[in-house]
């Protein structure tokens, strides 16, 4: 049977490839790291709700994060998050290159029928989120981008940070971008990991989009609460 083997590109018919070189494998990396990051943004938002409990509670929580496991805990978390971000971006870049090559000549006319604005802009919302994360770290973690930064006084840093209107607008826009990214990403990652069952799909999607909405509403509330003077 020389026909099929000779005609296929690159590889003889019936051979396999390694997990990480397969598109499906890279998607699993994308989904698994996405799941870790989704879990993080949920926890991050819930922890930050202590803003509404006053300076003492929020600062004590921040101190706990920096000191648990003798100060090692935060570095374990940072390592996992950084590795997730790096792998997420690696998988995205690699798959994007494959996808671009897969249709070098495009259509004159293409009508979306099922895809959403969120699903079609995942790459752009992701790039914007990366830029925001870098700014966010310089703003609230290191204080380099914060004109009135007091190390250890998280409550003060948050309130004085969000009192600057353009800064709050950046945070609000970034949260809306996160909303778009999670609207598609949250259920998409479960689909990629193979979690699909006719009985539970509706529940799956409702829970995923619900959790994403919770993160978004919670995160939006912080700059809004400061700007409206609710938290000062």
């Amino acid at each position: 049977m020389p026909t099929a083997t000779a005609m296929s590109k690159g590889r003889a018919t019936g051979e396999t490839e390694s997990f990480l070189s397969a598109t499906v494998g890279k998607k699993v990396v994308m989904a698994a790291t996405g799941l870790i990051l989704f879990g993080f943004v949920i926890g991050h938002m819930l922890g930050n709700l202590q803003l509404y409990m006053g300076a003492e509670a929020l600062n004590a929580y921040a101190l706990f994060l920096r000191t648990f496991l003798h100060g090692g805990g935060i570095w374990i978390a940072r390592t996992v998050l950084l590795a997730s971000v790096v792998l997420h971006i690696w998988a995205m870049t690699s798959l994007t290159l494959v996808n671009r090559r897969a249709r070098a000549v495009g259509y004159r006319q293409w009508k979306p029928r099922e895809s959403t604005y969120a699903s079609r802009t995942m790459r752009w919302s992701g790039v914007f989120l990366l830029a925001f994360i870098i700014y966010h770290l310089l703003h609230f973690t290191t204080g380099d981008a914060h004109p009135d930064f007091i190390p250890g006084d998280v409550y003060h840093n948050v309130v004085s940070g969000f009192q600057v209107v353009p800064v709050s607008i950046v945070y609000i826009l970034a949260t809306l971008c996160l909303a778009l990214h999670l609207f598609h990403g949250s259920w998409s990652m479960l689909q990629t990991l193979g979690l699909n069952h006719p009985r539970y799909n509706r529940l799956r999607n409702v829970i995923c989009v619900g959790l994403a909405a919770l993160v978004v509403v919670g995160n939006l509330s912080f700059p809004v609460a400061v700007l409206t003077g609710l938290v000062r």
Binding site: K9, G14, F19, A102, V105, S115, G194, L195, N196
Partner: protein, 260 residues
């Protein structure tokens, strides 16, 4: 009906191709889309021009041979309808139709609206079969299959391999096709021995052909003339993950993946 057609014309694989506009007056709304093209072609031939090349065979929506992107949708605007089963009454008098071939690097254009879909054949050849001697038909009750699995396998087996899923996918991914072909065997007892090998081989071939990756847009399911559900893609992902995790636990070259 009177229509204006913007048709992709391409002499052969090396020709860069271009759009040519044709007027199509006196089209009956009862014609199928392909019959409309037949009429246009007869007129072109009468004028001594080259007819528009398009693929077709059964014209009953079951062979998977036809397929044209009509106004940005593979097989046109109607759900669960192949190009041949699409009728001109779907359109309005005076409409302009843009006709393009299914676009993917793995589906090179042969001529005009005809593409080469042999990449699909090679995905099947890589593992989309059962390598068991057929023998005589056994008693129907000797291999019990749950009704749900039989239904899901039939849903997946409804795939006619037309390639509309690839054409509609923003990434030109062949995941819905490959997933349907993995599922139709993976859901039945006869498909179990080679289930784990099959999914790895078929995904490897799919990648080697230069198809893109799935980003869960859902465009494939929307244009599929047989309505193959996206759940098949999750099943492929699940099997692929399981095949990867169980890899190396068996002797090299030994097929099989355990139950379920």
């Amino acid at each position: 009906m009177k229509l204006t057609l913007n048709v992709w014309r391409q002499k052969d694989a090396r020709d860069p191709g271009r759009f040519v506009t044709y007027q199509a007056p006196d089209i009956s709304p009862e014609m199928s889309f392909l019959e409309m093209l037949d009429v246009v072609n007869e007129r072109l031939i009468a004028k001594g021009e080259e007819p528009i090349a398009f693929d077709h065979d059964c014209r009953e929506g079951i062979c998977g041979q036809c397929g044209v992107v009509i106004n940005g949708s593979p097989h046109g605007p109607r759900r669960r309808t192949t190009s041949c089963q699409l009728h001109m009454r779907t359109f309005q008098d005076g409409d302009t139709l843009t006709l393009e071939p299914f676009r993917a690097d793995a589906f090179p254009v042969v001529k005009d609206l005809i593409i080469d879909r042999s990449a699909f054949d090679r995905i099947i050849a890589s593992g989309g079969f059962i390598s068991a001697t057929i023998g005589g038909a056994q008693d129907a009750n000797s291999l019990p299959v749950p009704k749900e699995n039989a239904d899901l396998a039939m849903d997946a087996a409804a795939c006619i391999g037309c390639g509309a899923c690839v054409a509609a996918c923003p990434n030109a991914s062949a995941m819905l096709f490959t997933a349907a072909k993995v599922s139709q065997l993976g859901l039945l007892p006869q498909g179990q021995p080679e289930r784990m090998d099959r999914v790895r081989k078929m995904v490897a071939q799919m990648d080697a052909e230069g198809f893109g990756s799935c980003t869960n847009h859902g465009e494939c399911e929307a244009v599929c003339p047989k309505g193959i559900p996206l759940g098949n893609i999750a099943r492929l992902n699940r099997d692929y993950l399981r095949a990867t995790l169980s890899w190396g636990r068996r002797l090299p070259g030994a097929a099989g993946g355990g139950p379920g």
